[in-house]
Amino acid sequence: MNSRLIFLVEDNLSDVELTKRALKRRHISNTMLVAEDGKEALDYLFATGAHAGRDLTDLPALVLLDLKLPRLDGLEVLRRIRADPQTKRLPVVILTSSNEERDLAESYDLGANSFIRKSIDFAQFAQAMEYLGVYWLVLNEPPPKVSPC
């Protein structure tokens, strides 16, 4: 597992840029992988499509997942991740603008590790990202690797 890699699934490029900038400014992570839609995210994680031939066991330390995504939405992506034995223990944090209770409930039901609401106040948002990075990349013990059988 690449322990410093954050996998951001986000279609809003402004958000992507600003997130990258915020993390970089706070020296959390230099490497950030971005997928702009759900399909692409799954392709990367399961080494299919454009990412065919990638080492399957090379998983990011954290997936930041937006819910509203083109093609395949976040909840569906989460469901696939949890359904696969390779990725079922992967830390997934939902990062979204939505504050619908329904989304919250469903995310946790599907096994999200955390749920962060993107604040409009970017200062607050950047703060949240910093906490996230510190927590998941530094404090948190990653799950054991699933050995292929």
Partner: protein, 814 residues
């Protein structure tokens, strides 16, 4: 339910009238007995009165019925009704059974003099028929009162029994109305007329007391009553009146016809008895004359006289010749015996030879005959002593004095006694009846002092010839007495057996006898009586079946109507349901659209805002050295407006969610919510000093999440608008408004002008300048939405600078 309550009211009135009427009649009879004038309770001179025991039973029953229906809720009344029903039921059973079991209840003789009677019927005794009719009435009352009335079977049985009692007493009443009282003339005590009337009323009352749902009464009611106001009301009144009229007309016509039949039967019977009496009287008179003539021939023929006297004086050698003559006379005239006596009274010649033992009066008759100048008749009398129980030897003797010397006082020198045997001609004549009859008979009586003596053997009683003697003063209406008193014609009276008879009475010419030719009334009227019974039963059955038939038909018609109505209703309902379903689908679709829209808003509208804010901040962070102070201030304004926009979007989303979501009701602890909201507010602005007063133990039914939104908004407003006060005070509690609990949130803040109060709860309505008090103007609109969705209302009371109080109510707990 206009008809139901109407019928119920009518029934209650019927019960009251019937029970009071029945009770009053019985009471009247009882009062009559107490004052010794029982004819009051008879309603007719020749009718039997209501017995005291009957009166007592009827008073108890009607009293019980009245109490029971007048105060149906009263326990005491119900108990009394039950007691009356059970006691009268058992009493009637005892009364009815006493004639089989051979005892007499003491109450049967209570107040009633033992000797009083109407005809042969002793008064003061309850008729078995009455007892048998009272029994079902009492049982019906018993079954109608709790606890028995709770059973379905009892509720069905009660009206049936009452109907039975009603029919029985009505039949008796009709028989009275037809002038033709049932059971009169038989050996049973008949039901008294007032008892019949009282019982008709009583059973009617008990029937009505069964209520509008009892089976014979429900026929008057049609189908479920509470539905459909425009139901056609088939009037029962017309057919009912027609039926009643027909019944009355038939009854009256029938009774007239019956009366005529009876009258003609009576006339025929009268003619018959008169003819028989006249012809027999004529025959007897003729026979009598023959006897007299035969004797007179002997008296008036000197040759015979001389021969007889010669023999008596002993101057004629032998009596052989005379004896032969006497024998010839006997045979010719059917005499029983011809005896020749000498002057001392010794029988000298007798044909036949043996002389029967003379009776005690024999000598007197002989002496009288010697002094008589003419033939002496000794009327029918017992000749000799008859053994007890056997018919005595009855005879009728003619004494012919012999050797009468006209113009002197000297007695005759002998006498010839001619003895007539009534069994030979007289009695057979009397006992014969032309045509066949079960009961008809003729009889001959004579008067002896204050007695009438029956001369012949009677058809209905043995050994009466000359032995049956009845005192005139105690048998004033006896046909025989009437005849002996000289009455001629036809009478209706009771004979020696106390049986009512139709009798022709008259004297028999030139004899001391009187003739009675009679036939039992029962025989004369029996066929018509039976016919009347049959007619009445058929008529009643006809009426009953017609009524039931009409009732059933009527119900069926009504049911048909209801069925059609129901079908129409069902069709309409189905249509409505279809429409509702369509609308619901449309509504659901638009709701889904709205939800999708809101979701998009919450997600997509916020993202660019965050971008604006983020890039503004990036500018500030990365290019601060290239911007002057004003440029930085502008960027700060961009950021604050962006955030304001974000709050607006959030509030709008909340308002829309509040309007759409399902309400999940549960018990909500309002006090706890208020306290947590207060704590949150204090935490957000720890520097402010605000006194929170929350009433303890406030709880309500509602959606916890939505009520928290309400309290957050109201308490948040109170917090906000009391911000200028050095000592702010916010209060949450409960009070009563128009008898319903209302919750309130009170502050001592700036308040607002009530002139604009109606705008207070609209969306985007603000009472204050944004620079004074920030806000989106959506909070109170959300509060109102939530409260409305809970079925309550929300309002405010305030004055500028005097603080504000917001009240809200929630729907009553269901």
């Amino acid at each position: 339910m206009p008809m139901g309550s109407h019928l119920e009211k009518t029934l209650r009135r019927v019960v009251a009238v019937c029970s009071l009427g029945a009770g009053a009649l019985a009471l009247l009879a009882l009062v009559g007995w107490v004052f010794g004038n029982w004819k009051i309770g008879a309603l007719g001179n020749n009718y039997v009165p209501m017995a005291p025991s009957t009166a007592l039973m009827l008073i108890l029953l009607s009293g019980g019925l009245f109490l029971h229906s007048r105060w149906p809720a009263s326990r005491a009344a119900r108990r009394l009704a039950f007691l009356a029903g059970s006691s009268v039921g058992s009493m009637s059973l005892l009364v009815w059974s006493q004639r089989f079991l051979g005892y007499q209840l003491p109450v049967e003789r209570w107040l009633a003099p033992a000797t009083a009677a109407v005809g042969a019927i002793p008064v003061g005794l309850t008729s078995p028929l009455t007892a048998l009719t009272v029994l079902p009435a009492a049982l019906a009352l018993l079954l109608e009162s709790p606890p028995l009335s709770r059973h379905r079977l009892c509720r069905w049985m009660a009206p049936t029994l009452a109907l039975g009692a009603f029919m029985a007493s009505l039949a008796v009443l009709l028989s009275y109305a037809a002038g033709f009282s049932l059971l009169y003339g038989s050996r049973t005590v008949p039901m008294a007329l007032p008892a019949a009337v009282s019982l008709v009323l009583l059973s009617c009352g008990i029937l009505a007391a069964a209520g509008p749902l009892a089976w014979p009464i429900i026929l008057l009611e049609a189908g479920p009553v509470d539905s459909a106001a425009s139901r056609p009301r088939w009037s029962m009144l017309g057919p009912l009146a027609l039926l009643l009229f027909l019944l009355l007309a038939t009854g009256i016509a029938g009774s007239f016809h019956l009366r005529q039949l009876i009258e003609s039967a009576r006339l025929t019977a009268e003619r018959e008895v008169l003819t028989v009496a006249d012809s027999k009287a004529a025959q007897i008179a003729e026979w009598w004359q023959e006897r007299r003539t035969g004797a007179r021939v002997i008296l008036r023929t000197p040759m015979i006289q001389a021969r007889l006297l010669q023999f008596l004086s002993g101057s004629a050698p032998a009596g052989r010749e005379l004896l032969a003559w006497m024998e010839m006379q006997r045979e010719l005239n059917n005499y029983r015996q011809v005896v020749l006596y000498d002057a001392r009274g010794m029988p000298r010649l007798s044909a036949p030879a043996e002389v029967s033992t003379p009776s005690a009066a024999h000598n007197q008759h002989f002496q009288a005959a010697l002094r008589a100048k003419d033939i002496l008749t000794t009327d029918l009398h017992a000749y000799g002593e008859a053994a007890r129980g056997e018919p005595s030897l009855v005879t009728l003797s003619l004494w012919i004095p012999l050797g009468v010397k006209p113009g002197t006082d000297a007695p005759a020198q002998g006498a010839l006694r001619i003895e007539n045997d009534p069994y030979q001609f007289l009695y057979p004549l009397i006992q014969s009846w032309p045509g066949s009859s079960r009961t008809a008979e003729t009889l001959l009586v004579r008067r002896e002092g204050d007695q009438v003596v029956y001369l012949n053997e009677l058809r209905h009683r043995a050994s009466t010839g000359l032995f049956l003697r009845l005192p005139i003063d105690r048998w004033r209406s006896l046909p025989a007495v009437l005849a002996a008193m000289g009455q001629v014609g036809v009478v209706e009276a009771e004979d020696y057996r106390h049986v009512p008879v139709l009798a022709a009475v008259r004297g028999v010419p030139s004899t001391p006898w009187f003739m009675v030719a009679k036939v039992d009334q029962e025989e004369v009227y029996a066929p018509y009586r039976r016919g009347a019974w049959m007619t009445m039963i058929v008529l009643l059955a006809l009426v009953l079946t017609t009524t039931l038939g009409v009732g059933l038909l009527w119900r069926q018609r009504d049911n048909q109507w209801f069925r059609e109505q129901q079908q129409a209703d069902r069709r309409l309902n189905a249509e409505l349901e279809e429409r509702v379903k369509d609308r619901t689908i449309q509504l659901e679709a638009s709701n889904r659209e709205l939800e999708a829209f809101c979701y998009s808003v919450s997600h997509d509208l916020r993202a660019p805002l965050r971008g604006i804010d983020g890039w503004s901040m990036a500018l500030l962070e990365d290019y601060r050295d290239k911007l002057d102070e004003q440029g930085c201030r502008f960027l700060e304004r961009v950021r604050s407006d962006t955030q304001r926009m974000g709050r607006l979007i959030d509030d709008l989303l909340l308002l829309s969610r509040v309007a759409r979501g399902q309400i999940q009701r549960s018990r909500v602890d309002l006090t706890a919510i208020a306290q947590s909201v207060a704590a949150r507010l204090q935490e957000a602005e720890p520097e402010r000093r605000v006194e929170f007063a929350t009433q303890a133990g406030l709880a309500a039914q509602g959606d916890a999440r939505l009520l928290e939104i309400v309290l957050s908004n109201l308490l948040g407003n109170a917090w906000k608008f009391s911000g200028t006060r050095p000592l702010a005070r916010v209060e949450f509690g409960q009070t009563n408004v128009d008898g319903r609990p209302a919750y309130f949130v009170r502050d001592n803040g700036v308040g607002f002008d009530m002139t604009y109060a109606q705008k207070l709860f609209g969306a985007f309505q603000r009472m204050h300048k944004a620079s004074e008090f920030p806000g989106t103007g959506i909070g109170l609109a959300t509060v109102r939405r939530v409260i409305h969705r809970h079925g309550g209302r929300v309002w405010a009371e305030t004055q500028v600078d005097q603080g504000a109080t917001f009240y809200f109510t929630l729907e009553e707990e269901v």
